[in-house]
Amino acid sequence: MKVVERKGEMGTVEQAGVRREVSFAMLPDAAEGDFVLIHAGFAIQTLNEEEARATLDLIREVAAAGEEDG
């Protein structure tokens, strides 16, 4: 979910127009605009876009290799 507001230890996250108040006690450095993973009312980790893309690239690489072999 996307962080739309930070206020002290709390903050607001949004996905598909639904907003929720969550705690950032575990993710004090998360900033507005970051994408975060939510669990039981807490932001627990920031989604690292670069790393996410690296995983996707790896999948595409494997898929492309499979095509050549096949």
């Binding site: 230890e9 575990m26 993973l37 669990h39 807490f42 980790q45 996410a52 999948i59 494997v62 499979g66």
Partner: protein, 364 residues
């Protein structure tokens, strides 16, 4: 649409999936039959829902592990929570799935129907809010969950230092000690571990390295989309072919080697490891979390007289064996007959993350 949505769409792209399956088949052809344990209940559900087992070659077998927090909580804990809810002035709050698990004599939901004050919360912060709103009630939060949940509970407790009517009944469990206990079983034969994504976001992939080294077991921390799971299986098979025993991270978007250190510190400030009993696995040293002595006034186990219960697991239920991968749900005589999601006999059929519930819903 955000980048997270785009990524998850790509990861569930059937065409990419089909090519990953082809790569898995090629890899598996060069290996003897192998078993891979998906440790986490959320993975079990994702795998069953997407029909992945039917796509894999017969020589690659997926086995579910002890990764459903509600399921591994033994009846003793549940019976104690029900006894707590019977004390005048006490409110027991917990996550929804806990309420329907049949204890030895009743479930928390049945206790509520008989007049006990039992509430469902989505977050431990809701339980704190409940205690603030109802200062004359003693609100006990029955805290179940692994390392993903434990720091949220710890943070909630730290935020409730001034709330004198808020108590914790900690039934938290830790994943790495349970894996260690699994490998110590003589009948345990698994060739690779598909490791939990969200637990690992907190504890970090490095937490599994001692186990991987000691047991020479390939490990991959996996995400939850079909593409994540397939890629992770492929990574495991490739490790097996290289005879490697590394801890690789497929779910790189949220999992790193060290994990979330802030969350780890919060958890360590509030809890300390203790021996804990697991359904199916028995007592495992250092596998549970007790409140540190500094929080004794908030510790339900110290404050209330929680009497030992004459607890039994349900007759005929093989949930304990399902949790260690020894038995698949359809091998249980109660599965789909005496036990189904509407009338669950054991917790593996109750929890949304339970292996039996996933098999029942999506097929075995």
């Amino acid at each position: 649409m955000n980048s997270g949505t785009r990524l998850s769409q790509a990861l569930s792209d059937p065409q990419l999936g089909a090519r990953l399956v082809a790569a898995i088949r090629a890899e598996a052809a060069a290996l003897p039959p192998v078993s891979i344990m998906e440790v986490c209940g959320t993975h079990t559900v994702a795998i069953r829902r997407s029909g992945i087992p039917g796509l894999l070659p017969p020589s690659v077998r997926l086995v579910s592990g002890p990764g459903c927090p509600v399921c591994v909580t033994p009846n003793e804990t549940l019976d104690q929570a029900i006894a707590l809810a019977g004390i005048a002035g006490v409110t027991v709050a917990s996550f929804g799935d806990m309420l329907r698990v049949p204890g030895t004599r009743s479930s928390l939901a049945q206790a509520r129907a008989r007049g006990a004050d039992v509430r469902v919360v989505y977050s431990p912060l809701d339980a704190v809010a409940l205690a603030r709103a109802e200062p004359r009630r003693k609100v006990v939060f029955l805290a179940v969950g692994f390392e993903t949940t434990a720091p949220t509970v710890a943070a909630a407790l730290l935020s409730a230092q001034d709330v004198s009517n808020f108590y914790l009944f900690s039934a938290h469990k830790l994943v790495p000690p349970a894996l260690r206990a699994l490998f110590a079983r003589p009948d345990f034969a698994v060739d690779g571990l598909l490791l939990p994504g969200h637990v690992s976001a907190i504890i970090g992939a490095d937490a599994y390295r001692p186990l991987a080294d000691e047991r020479r077991i390939p490990c991959v921390v996996a995400g939850f989309e079909p593409g994540d799971v397939l890629l992770s299986i492929l990574m495991l098979l490739r490790q097996m072919r290289r005879r490697a025993s590394e801890v690789e991270i497929e779910y790189r978007a949220v999992v790193s080697g060290p994990g979330n250190r802030t969350a780890q510190e919060i958890m360590a400030r509030v809890f300390q490891p203790e021996a804990s009993r697991w359904r199916g696995l028995g007592e495992i040293p250092e596998s549970g979390l007790a409140l540190r002595p500094a929080f004794a006034e908030r510790d339900a186990r110290a404050v209330f007289d929680i009497l030992p219960q004459e607890s039994r697991e349900p007759a005929g239920c093989r949930c304990g064996e399902v949790l260690v991968g020894a038995v698949r749900p359809p091998e249980c005589p109660l599965f789909g007959t005496a036990c189904d999601p509407a009338h669950p006999v054991g917790p593996c059929m109750v929890s949304s993350e339970g292996t039996c519930a996933a098999y029942h819903r999506y097929g075995g």
